[in-house]
Assembly symmetry: C2
Homo-oligomer: 233 residues x 2
C-alpha cells in the first residue's frame, strides 16, 4: 500500500445556521478528488444545522440543563463533569454539549444524526462538483484509563466505519484474531493532527486510503456498542 496525505483546508468562513456546508467546503477545497475522505469537525456541522441553543452568558453552568436533555443515561459524575450516554448512543463528557468556538451566550449540541449529515455533504458534493468523496464527521472525546483527548468519528458516509479483517491471514499465514479496525476513528484522529484546536481549521482531506474501505458506512450502526455487549456500562 502506498502512503497517505493529510491536507488541512483553511479559509472556511464562520458557519451560521442555514449555511450549505457542502457549498462552503466546496468553495475552499479546490482540489477534491475521487477517493478522498473529507473530515469535517462536528462544530461546523452543528452550526450549519442550527444545533445552537441560547444560554445565560453570565452563568458558567448555563449549558448544564442541555447536558441532561441530551443524555439518556449518566454513567459517572464528578464535580461539574458528567460522563453520559447521548441520545445517539455515544458515551462522552457533557453529552457533546460544547461552548468553545461558539458565540458567547450559545452552546452547540451534537448533530441529530451525524451519519445523515455526512451523507448530505457527500451527496451534495457529488451532485454539484461531480466528485466521489467519503465524509467523516469528527468530534473530540476523552477516554477512560488514558489521559488526553483524541478525535473520533460520530458520523460517516461513503466509507465503512469498521474494516473487517476477519478471515485474513497474518504475515505467518495464521488467521488473525484482532479483526475489526475502527478506521473512521483512526481517520478522525489523523485529521486532527493538522487541525489544531485553536485555529479555524475545521476541514481536512485524507487522501490515499485503501479503496476497498469505500462503501456505505454508518458510525452509529457499526461503532456504537450494544450496551448488552459492553463490559463498562
Amino acid at each position: 500500500m502506498s502512503g497517505l496525505e493529510i491536507i488541512p483546508i483553511d479559509g472556511l468562513p464562520q458557519v451560521v445556521p442555514g449555511d450549505d456546508l457542502a457549498d462552503l467546503i466546496g468553495a475552499v477545497a479546490h482540489d477534491l478528488r475521487d477517493g478522498d475522505c473529507l473530515v469535517v469537525t462536528q462544530k461546523v456541522v452543528s452550526k450549519a444545522e442550527g444545533r445552537l441553543v441560547d444560554i445565560d452568558p453570565s452563568d458558567p453552568l448555563g449549558h448544564k440543563p442541555l447536558v441532561e436533555q441530551e443524555s439518556v443515561r449518566v454513567l459517572r459524575r464528578r464535580g461539574q463533569l458528567v460522563i453520559s450516554e447521548t441520545i445517539h448512543g455515544f458515551v462522552c463528557a457533557n453529552a457533546g454539549v460544547d461552548v468553545s468556538n461558539v458565540e458567547p451566550g450559545q452552546a452547540a449540541l451534537l448533530p441529530v444524526d451525524s451519519d445523515r449529515s455526512a451523507r448530505g455533504i457527500r451527496d451534495r458534493l457529488k451532485a454539484r462538483r461531480g466528485v466521489d468523496v467519503a465524509v467523516v464527521v469528527s468530534d473530540t472525546f476523552g477516554r477512560p484509563w488514558r489521559r488526553g483527548v483524541t478525535d473520533v468519528a460520530i458520523g460517516c458516509a461513503g466509507i465503512g466505519a469498521i474494516a473487517d479483517l476477519r478471515g485474513t491471514r497474518d504475515a505467518l499465514g495464521r488467521e488473525l484474531q484482532v479483526t475489526e479496525v475502527a478506521i473512521v476513528d483512526e481517520i478522525a484522529s489523523a485529521a486532527d493532527l493538522v487541525m489544531g484546536k485553536s485555529t479555524n481549521t475545521a476541514v481536512a482531506i485524507v487522501r490515499g486510503l485503501d479503496r476497498n474501505w469505500f462503501r456505505r458506512g454508518n458510525v452509529v450502526e457499526e461503532i456504537v456498542r450494544d450496551p448488552a455487549d459492553d463490559l463498562f456500562r
Copy 2:
C-alpha cells in the same frame, strides 16, 4: 499549518530476539529526515527485545497464564476475554499478550518499558544515521463503548505524548476548555491506516508534524491515568 504525509516502510525482515531494530529500520527507511516521527508496532519491538515466551502450541489457551502474570488488576472478565491493567498501567485485553504474527508455540509480551524502547531506537538512529526523529511504539487496543480496535501509543521518545493547549484561545478568542490532546495516540492511529493488519508492514513515517510537539515525551508518565483520578477503574 501544512499537511502531513504517512509513509509505510516495507521490507523489514522477520525480527528475531537480539536484532538491533534501529539498524533494521535504518536499512529499509532510506529517506528518514529530521522532524519525522517513526511509528513502530509493538510486535517487532517485543521480538527484538526477546519478549517471547514458549507456550503449548496444541493448547488454544496456552497463553492465559501469561495474561495473569502481566496483569496487576483484572477489571472485567467475560468468557476467555480478560480486561486488565498491565504492569505498565495500560488497560487492555489480555494484558497485551498476543499470539498473532509470532511463531506457533510462542506468545509475545509487551516490552518491559516501551518509552525506553522508543528512546533506544531514536538514540541509535541519531548516533548512526545522524537523523533526529521522534519515535512512537504503537499497539492495537479495544475501547469501551465503541466497537472496533484502534492503534494507540505505548511508548514515545522525542515527542510529547500530550500537546497541552491550555491557555491558548479558540477562533473566537476565548480560552479553550478542552486542552490536552493525546497526539501520540492520534499519530499511532494515523500510521495504522497505512500498515494493514495482514501485511508485514510494521513501521511507518509520519512527516510534517508541528515541530513545537518535539520534546522529551513519555507515554506512561503523561498518558496513563492515575487510578485515583479515573472514573472507570
